[in-house]
Symmetry: C2
Subunit: 762 residues, 2 copies
């Protein structure tokens, strides 16, 4: 026995070591979400370039010279690269940033990007995905027009490039300060207000630009240091080209640095960036990258990612691991710490202030991320969640209300609601440390009573719904505002502010005032109290001019996460609610005038945009959890993949990924601030969430694309019949064991007390 | 004898006291230059409001809601006032600033300025010049639509308003953060990027705006404190009006504060401003105005003006005194100290920096002011001249070259040349203290070799003239650049930089390369060396697209102040030169396509714009000084007056006034950097320039509109036959005595050695 046992254990140990040795970063595929599968589909709008977790610098190739769509600047379907810019947005529907473009080239100097379909018309180069690779903290591409291999890595504030030129070729680097989001866009278009480039010595160039765009006003300063001297250079100002001039100031400025033909060694360049000053850009670089060891910086970046990804260990197929860990990677790509290494940052009043803790996070795509990305942070980025909240408080202090969509430290009013509120309330109720709960209440209440763009609380208090003729997107705002009010009420309750609790709970029920029992939908009213007609529940709205925001009445029907019971009663009870859900997931009629945010359809359900994200879980609330399981499994298995077109819509700063991360483990925060997770259909054999001092382990027997139905569940070894778990169940550590099968167990989770609670708190 | 003598001496003493008692500020008429005499004339573009010398806050009524022309915002011919904004430009041809508009009103609340010809269509009010008054540091107007008396005064960074409302009227104050230069202007138009208003308590409101305009990017923060509480208020965001909301953020925001009907006491409001932060705006106000004593601030402002005006005491007619002291007032209205009381300012790289001496001057309209305004400062604002130069050095350090037209601390590239160079060189050669002469040379040389917009030194070095097909305005730039080069050479000489001296002296002669002996004019060439044809010496240019800048070939012919002898030789000697001057002053043909800068004509001479300003003095250089005297007297007597239309063109930040100040005393700096003043035709019986420890006194016997010709001159008691004096003559103290008559003394000043020297230095 012993003789036989040892080799087997030895083999098992080797397997364990092998498994251990395979870094989690190896499962990250930064190309997921970088392109649409065809022209009628959406891209995830992710970028494939190099960044560290939550880093300010995100150094990535741009395939478009004035990017607009996809908003990341990189489209996997494009054939040329215009260069590598240092700041990007991941997964957004609107483009901005793209600062300080560097492009290596050879031969004849070109000073315009040129046209993609005319090789040689500019400095852009063709490339092939066969000669391109990326992993966390590293990106590489062969620029085929120049036969230059370009490699990128990054630290928090510094981009690091390594260009390998062909021997004997005249090597050059173009710096384009005019590269920006589309300047001709009809909304939030870019205008470069001023820019400068300055040669410090023959290895160093500095510069900055100040511009308006999706972010109202950004200043971006950089300092670039090269590993070897340039022998000559051009400064370009519009149409004018100056040889070896030290300075250039203008709005359309560029430089070409010539490094000669001695290409024995690769050319390295470090580019420190700062939103504050040239001095800070240098300070950031000096503190983060002292020498010229490119591999060391790559390795450090990878280690930082490994450290973050290790917060959850999973077992599963290679594809599942790739989707899951790339999801975590995308979720941790932002918010970004905008503070320089000395703590200075641009506040929302356009002054420069100093954060003692050297952290000021921005890029808060809250309408998306409050749903699942922030709950994920609340679970496995608890310290950073406090940092996020303290950063949001600063907007409250200088701007009067919490962020709606905060970019570069300032409000851009994209989308609707005040969804910093659920983020803060959720963290407060979960007991996260590191921020002041009194300040939290002041901020969430203040942001719920001070009328501001998109949030006319005067109308809210007067009409108890949003009248469409006074505030467009009125149905969506009514529903989402009611939810935010419920969140405020919960924090009021915790702090024994009874009067406020009563007030905000009353407001949280205003959603009912737009329910039209005739049509069975939430429907717009004008301020005369009359329904807006005609009404078509398939009719899509965009971002104004229609009662529904990026969706239709079908998709917005489900948005009462604070009171699903109330919603069920409104529609006439479980049966009617189930029937409506069934219809929602099966109604194949094309929604009227589908807009660019609608994709990933199952009936009217559109996984490609956020309003649908919680809907599949709602069957749990009406006694048919197996339908939740079926649809959740369908989304997990059909609407995510590990290819460049792996998402069914914009990844949205981590939200699309976080849906997968939670759902793949078997549960999802339908109400992201009540500490309840509805159980869906787990697909991973094992997932271990590492929490401070404790682990929460989810195991799943027999998961497969057929075995999508829960047969039984055990929580900490005991049979478990509820269709939800609480946050407390997770953070106290333990095990959740699912057994799956190909047929529904219609006895599991169907009792009245199995339904998800309104809140985990009394 | 004794009995008789005493009363006479007593009377004399009383007269002296009376004379002494009449403050010089009493001669300042801030309405001079505030309007054009008719629609075909130019306004001085001055504003009548309240400011202290060189103050940042210049609180003045705006008669236009989106000012453009006149650029000061106030037109004496307008019938309505839209309100009082806190920052202005004096005499410029381009509009900007107009920050933080306050307007008192009564009755029905209006939230738009309305139309001037439709009373009651907005908050603007009619007014009458009969119910309007102004003196240095004080402005008052009765707003007749509201029967409100509004009074304004100011400190360096703080505006102080006093509004007297009619008893029983519902009093209100409108704050309009959308009031700006014309947003629809096709060039340098304004865009408000972001703005905020915030009620701090019922006596305090704060706010800011960030905007792009003629100044690339400005941030302006304010804090307003009222002497009594407002009982309610509105916040306005575009079309939306919110009652008693604490905050409003947007791009078109306003507030209306309601003070009720209890108007027994006037309502006072202090408004502190800062280009840096709200905190600094409060700090500025707290430091400058501690209480509510309006009269005290008025008196302090007046005293500051009196102190500055006392630098020159003159005798003359009341009109002469009014023109002269208003001229000094306009000359001392800018440059403006942009630094807050703690020294913080916005640098030209858009960072906030700190000046240890708490001084950072901006608004440098150098193409205008280097001619006579800066020479005036060099004489009687010596300390501030050093401050100006140190401020300019900061642009050199952060921007790469010295200011061309610096507004709000940043370059706007208005006009041509690099005329910070003569300003700095002049101060250095005159031995002014307080700046580093080595740094001065570094900056003037650096700015003369680094190609930048409007100054392509690569072309200059290659062609030895500006080729029109590569650089428009080529004749004007060639002439003015040659002059700036001469200045650099002079400083090189002083510092024994022989090689640089030779180099820049050679460049200073490049003007000859555009002299066309066929036509007898400076004329444009293309880079092939051929004359640009057809050529019409009357043809006007504007600011691009033509070889001449805001002038024609006739007006630019005279621009060789560094080498008038060379110019005389070029044209064929004294006789030909005199004949050409005679023709210039008598050629009545209308210049072709006269543009908006041409006015104040004597023949082709146009006193309304700067290129002509030195031309009348050029007869001295060719032996007929009596013609200088005649034309200078004509300009003094006919092209200046003490009415609202007292200038023949834009006052241009002190240049138009400084021409009068010098010329009225009898001399003018034809070459503003050679320490030589050409003698003209003095019109004042007496002028005393008070210099540190010394006086320089000019007396003129028999001056009158007929007695414009010099009969004889004495310098320090000795007969003086030269047509110039040196700066040294003035600063060492002494007396210059003119005797005037109705006929030319053709023997005075005609000898070869009587002609102005190239330089006062060997």
């Amino acid at each position: 026995m012993l003789k036989k046992t040892i080799p087997i254990m030895f083999v098992l140990a080797l397997i364990c070591i092998a498994l251990k040795a395979q870094k989690l970063t190896s499962f990250v595929n930064p190309f997921i979400g970088t392109g649409a599968v065809d022209s009628s589909s959406l891209s995830g709008s992710n970028f494939p370039g190099a960044t560290v977790p939550f880093g300010f610098v995100q150094l990535s190739p741009d395939t478009q010279d004035n990017p607009d769509n996809p908003a990341s600047g990189y489209d996997h379907n494009d054939k040329t690269i215009v260069g590598f810019s240092h700041t990007h947005l991941s997964g957004t529907g609107v483009a901005d940033l793209f600062d300080v473009l560097f492009m290596p080239a050879t031969g004849e100097v070109k000073t315009v990007p040129g046209e993609a379909d005319k090789p040689g018309s500019g400095y852009r180069s063709r490339f092939s995905h066969n000669e391109e690779s990326a992993r966390p903290g590293y990106y590489q591409v062969k620029l085929s027009d120049y036969n230059v291999n370009a490699e990128l890595t990054a630290t928090e504030h510094t981009g690091f490039h390594r260009y390998t030129f062909p021997s004997g070729a005249k090597s050059q680097v173009i710096i384009d300060m005019n590269h920006s989001l589309n300047k001709k866009r009809s909304y939030w278009s870019c205008k470069i207000i001023g820019a400068e480039l300055r040669v410090i010595d023959n290895k160093t160039i500095e510069g900055y630009r100040i511009l308006t765009g999706w972010a109202k006003m950004r200043k971006i300063y950089f300092r670039a240091e090269f590993s070897r001297p340039f022998s000559s250079h051009k400064m370009i100002n519009g149409q004018k080209v100056y040889e070896n001039e030290v300075f250039v100031n203008g709005t359309n400025i560029k430089s070409v640095l010539n490094f000669g033909e001695n290409n024995k060694e690769p050319l390295l360049v470090k580019v420190g960036l700062s939103p504050v000053s040239l001095e800070n850009a240098k300070m950031n670089m000096d503190q983060e990258i002292s020498g010229w060891d490119f591999e060391k910086v790559v390795s450090e970046a990878e280690n930082k990612w490994e450290h973050e990804l290790e917060k959850i260990h999973i077992e599963g197929t290679k594809e599942q691991k790739q989707i899951f860990y790339t999801g975590l990677y995308h979720a941790f790509t932002q918010p970004n710490n905008m503070a320089d290494v000395n703590g200075e940052y641009q506040a929302s009043d356009f002054t420069i202030r100093k954060a003692d803790d050297k952290k000021h996070y921005s890029t808060f795509s809250l309408w998306d991320t409050y749903r699942a990305a922030h709950p994920l942070y609340t679970l496995i980025q608890q310290e950073r969640t406090a940092d996020f909240i303290n950063s949001m408080f600063r907007q409250y202090d200088t701007y009067g209300y919490l962020p709606i969509w905060q970019l570069w430290g300032d409000e851009n009013y994209c989308m609707i609601g005040n969804h910093a509120i659920p983020v803060i309330v959720d963290a407060a109720l979960k007991g996260l440390k590191g921020f002041d709960i009194g300040k939290a209440y002041e901020a969430v209440k203040g942001s719920s009573v001070r009328t501001h763009p998109g949030s006319p609380f005067d109308l809210w208090n007067k009409y108890h719904f949003m009248p469409e003729n006074q505030q467009s997107q009125s149905v969506s705002i009514t529903l989402e505002m009611a939810y935010d009010d419920w969140c405020v009420a919960q924090l009021a309750k915790k702090l024994n502010k009874t009067e406020d609790y009563t007030y905000f709970m009353a407001r949280s029920m205003y959603y009912k005032n737009l329910y039209d029992s005739q049509t069975g939908f939430f429907r717009a009213k004008n301020d005369d109290g009359k329904w807006v007609s005609p009404f078509n529940p398939l009719q899509y709205g965009g971002n104004g001019g229609n009662p529904y925001t990026e969706g239709n009445a079908w998709q917005y029907f489900w948005y009462v996460p604070q009171d699903v019971k109330g919603l069920i009663n409104l529609v006439g009870g479980d049966k009617a609610f189930i029937a409506k859900l069934d219809q929602f997931f099966t109604l194949k009629d094309l929604p009227g005038e589908v807009n660019g945010n609608a994709s990933g359809f199952i009936g009217q359900y559109a996984h490609g945009n956020e309003p649908s994200h919680h809907a599949a879980y709602l069957y749990n609330y009406a006694g048919q959890p197996w339908k939740t399981q079926a649809y959740v499994a369908q989304v997990l298995n059909e609407l995510y993949n590990n290819s460049f077109s792996g998402y069914s819509g914009n990844e949205d700063c981590g939200q699309m990924s976080s849906w997968y991360i939670f759902s793949a483990m078997g549960f999802y925060p339908v109400n992201p601030a009540n500490s309840i997770y509805a159980i869906g259909s787990p697909v991973l054999p094992k997932a271990v969430i590492h929490l401070p001092g404790k682990d929460f382990t989810v195991t799943t027997k027999n998961p497969s694309k057929k075995n999508v139905y829960i047969q039984s569940v055990k929580l900490n070894g005991k049979s478990y019949n509820k269709t939800y778990i609480t946050h407390q169940d997770i953070v106290r550590g333990g095990t959740l064991e699912f057994t799956m099968g190909p047929q529904p167990n219609k006895k599991w989770g169907v009792s009245a007390d199995a339904r998800p609670l309104d809140s985990a708190f009394k």
